[in-house]
Amino acid sequence: MTTTETTSVAARPATAKSAGFDAERIRQDFPALRQIINGKPLIYLDNAATTQKPQAVLDALRKFYETECANVHRGLHWMSEEATRDYEGSREKVRQFLGAADTKEIVFVRGTTEAINLVAQSFGRPRFRAGDEILITAMEHHSNIVPWQMLCEQTGAVLRVAPINDDGELLLDEFERLLTERTRLAAVSHISNALGTVNPVARLIEMAHSRKVPVLLDGAQAAPHMPVNVQELDCDFYAFSGHKLYGPTGIGVLYGKAQWLEEMPPYQGGGDMINYVTFEKTTYNALPYKFEAGTPHIAGVIGLGAAVDYLNQIGLERAGAYENELLGYATERVRRIPGVRIIGTAREKAGVLSFEIEGIHPHDVGTILDREGVAVRAGHHCAMPVMDRFGVPATTRASFSFYNTPGEVDALVAGIEKVKEVFG
């Protein structure tokens, strides 16, 4: 029941400096982490929901609004040029961050949810027919379930779900078996938000591509925890959210292979996505602007670019290694508490520790931990089918960032002890 990461790091990391990574210093970059909540220093362990923002991101947003707030791609004046340069500069930063071949493959959207809806409606709706199949997994977030269900209703396509085992790992044989000549798309989370499972996505993509099935990866949880290279993975679509990546809310990215994006009709109509408009006919703009109707979230894009710069500066690989060590330590501590069951014990995990305490509802756990200054998520994590699979109404979820420390894990454990004391 232990993970490969945990078996090697049963002991508490000596300090927050581990894996050559200085979390105490990194914390200084995040103003929100200096707050006192309910008389106690904030311990923020809800990073899978959203991450706090480094000063560099806040500064970038402020700079945009103070000095270059103008619309992009239209003004002939100085501020518009500055805004356009920074906006497109961010696109190039994201291209590098994802290892994409071309900036025209980087589409700015509101978040992972909108990215998946865009693919469902623009890629799926025109080409899927009754009886076609869409393959997802049993560990998906609602945002990678519901858009496909809506598409199924519209087209008569059928949703297939690859099962998982009791550790929360995808059953690869089943996944492969469910890839049939009717499968038109596979949509899979890179990392599960409720369980923390890291899916073997390279392998899944290989399986799917050998049957000519394109693959969308929901990278909302993965992009903040590990370097991603879409060309090496050879995925067809990759979606992530800025706000889980230390950037602003309301901005996200859809990567799509140019060959697909070229074939796809626009998702929304409006300004910026056109070449020429008459009342008789409109010709659409080139990629990626075809998919960016209306004034975009310019500040959000610029803030996201600053977040990417920040992650490059601290090194996502090093940060991810530190997070794995911290997750291993937290797993060891929490699973030793009598009456606690960890939900999601995959060999490959990142960032997430979901658990239940026997006889105590997660909402009561969440409330008591909050009063101890520890912020966790208690609920179904927008993954109700996952909760059903494990026979629980909800779980308590602690999710980690590189700015968390072993001391904060200790506070979580002390908080769980308090919960048990209250319910004695």
Partner: protein, 149 residues
């Protein structure tokens, strides 16, 4: 821990562990299910209404300690009582958990329900405390389902 202790008073913890009147009620002539979509708590109330009197009442469902204890104490309190009394009590209970001011007479009517006074310090938990009462009201009105939204 004081606010937490105030919220999770002994009686609440005890009722959450051993809820009273739990299970279906044979021969019920009114029933409704209440659902809190935010947290997934679910309460089904079964009752036998004779004229204007709640002759018998039971419930089943799942949820946090607050919603479970509230359903348990609600059924205990409304069994064999006129529905008008139950309606009036819900108004007082609602004031209690949302921090409204109670007259001395109102406070006196609460009885055991006063243990929910700690809820007012936890605004996100108000719906947990009131779910069973909303469901009772729906059952009395003949509505089948209710949500806290």
């Amino acid at each position: 821990m004081s606010e937490v202790k105030e919220l999770y008073q002994e009686l609440i913890v005890e009722h959450s562990k051993k809820p009273r009147n739990f299970g279906k009620l044979a021969g019920a002539n009114h029933t409704a299910t209440g659902y809190n979509p935010l947290c997934g708590d679910k309460v089904t109330v079964y009752l036998t209404l004779e004229g204007d009197r709640v002759r018998d009442i039971r419930w089943e469902g799942s949820g946090c300690a607050i919603s479970t204890a509230s359903a348990s104490l609600m059924t205990e309190r409304s069994k064999d009582k006129p529905r008008a009394e139950t309606d009036a009590l819900f108004e007082i209970f609602h004031k209690l958990v949302t921090g409204g001011s109670l007259s001395e007479q109102e406070a006196g009517q609460l009885g055991k329900l006063a243990v929910f006074s700690g809820v007012k310090e936890f605004p996100v938990r108000v719906k947990c405390a009131t779910l069973a009462w909303h469901t009772l009201r729906a059952a009395l009105k003949g509505e089948k389902a209710v949500t806290t939204d």
